[in-house]
């Protein structure tokens, strides 16, 4: 992940046509843009009910330039298995099968079919773009909503911690697991390239944080900044888990090495209105947990 790639070196071709229905300042639209640049034309995507369904368009036209199968909310993993099975039996080679699902469709209702697909070693790249709530239906809480966040179904702040999906997938023995961040598009692009080129035929899982201006409560112009703060504060560490071994990505590794300062979690929380119900005690608790996690990261250097 250390290639010094500049924006001018990235592929020019876009696979999302302009004029999508994504919100202004949508982070996962940016992530999709660079994921598809890395994966290229020979990609078949599959999306469950999610914001991405809306971004994709409305019959009879779409903003996507790759083929995509819409599928029922809980079924992305199974649909990916089905697409891959058909491609294999029909002898169609060299096609990436890409799952592009939100956190609801991955962590909650979609976890069973994802788990099944991962256990079967399905040849796929499964992506969870995580805006940390059921945004498409109006900001209801999901299993990936962080502790203390406001959602329309947790108006005084979520009481439970979120599921650790990368760890869950790593526990399935998935050989390539990574976290990514749309505020670090080049890191994201390189991870998708790595997933495509170096883990052919295997199950790959990439979990991307996708700050959501209306859902998280910040101005659209700050969506890159908020995503960056998530990683800089340590609340969204960037890493890969390759064959079970965690490798920190540069932005997070620099923090662990002390080359960059870790930003206090308060800065991240204060920049978004969804954390307004967090008490000082809760913030201290969260800070302590991040501190502890970063201590343990030292063994991954």
């Amino acid at each position: 992940m250390e290639k010094n790639l500049l924006p001018k070196d990235l592929p020019k071709e876009e696979f999302l046509l302009p004029g999508t229905r994504a919100c202004s300042g949508c982070a996962f639209a940016l992530a999709y843009r660079f994921a598809l640049k890395a994966l290229g034309k020979r990609t078949i995507a599959c999306t469950p009910a999610s914001c991405s369904t809306v971004l994709s368009g409305m019959y009879p036209v779409t903003s996507l330039k790759i083929p995509m199968l819409n599928t029922a909310f809980e079924s992305t993993g199974a649909a990916l298995s089905g697409i891959r099975a058909a491609l294999d039996i029909l002898g169609k080679e060299d096609i990436t099968v890409l799952g592009w699902a939100g956190d609801g469709g991955t962590v909650d209702i979609g976890i069973q079919s994802l788990s099944g697909a991962a256990e079967r070693g399905t040849d796929m790249i499964y992506v969870c773009y995580d805006n940390e709530a059921y945004m498409n239906t109006g900001v209801q809480r999901s299993g990936s909503t962080p502790y203390g966040a406001f959602t329309t179904t947790t108006p005084t702040g979520k009481l439970q911690k979120r599921k650790n999906m990368p760890a869950i997938l790593a526990a399935h023995g998935v050989p390539y697991v990574a976290t990514a961040n749309s505020s670090y598009p080049i890191d994201l692009y390189l991870k998708f390239k790595k997933a495509k080129d170096e883990f052919k035929g295997k199950t790959r899982y990439i979990h991307i944080i996708a700050p959501c201006p209306p859902g998280w409560g910040f101005h659209t112009k700050d969506f890159i900044k908020i995503g960056r703060l998530a990683t800089q504060s340590g609340l969204w560490p960037l890493y890969e888990i390759i064959e079970g071994k965690m490798i920190l990505s540069k932005p997070t590794r620099d923090i662990v090495l002390g080359k960059k300062k870790r930003v206090p979690v308060t800065d991240y929380f204060q920049a978004q209105s969804r954390f307004r119900t967090l008490s000082d005690v809760q913030i201290q608790q969260i800070q302590a947990e991040v501190d502890q996690e970063f201590e343990s990261f030292k063994q991954n250097l």
């Binding site: 924006p7 020019k12 999508t20 779409t62 598009p185 112009k221 969506f223």
Partner: protein
Amino acid sequence: MPIHSLKDRKMPISSIATPIEGEGGRTGTWRTERPVLDPTKCATVKQNKLVCLLCWLYCPEANISRTIPPKIDYVYCKGCGACAEECPSKAITMEEEGNFED
């Protein structure tokens, strides 16, 4: 960008969507302010090279071209303001949409 035509399509038997530019409409009409790039401040112009390009990089809709200087597609730009926020040269400013005729 070319618009994919629906002229030759017939009604299908199931929901099949073909690619088209501006599926969601002229999304430029969504914005209340628009990014305006000052080429005198833009690094690509000053160095006459494809350097920086963070505006191209961070635009969620790829509405900014990777040229010297980058050009903003006002038909589709939703006016999120991330390009202005992230530009290290402060070459892009957000201006009231009402100030413009088009």
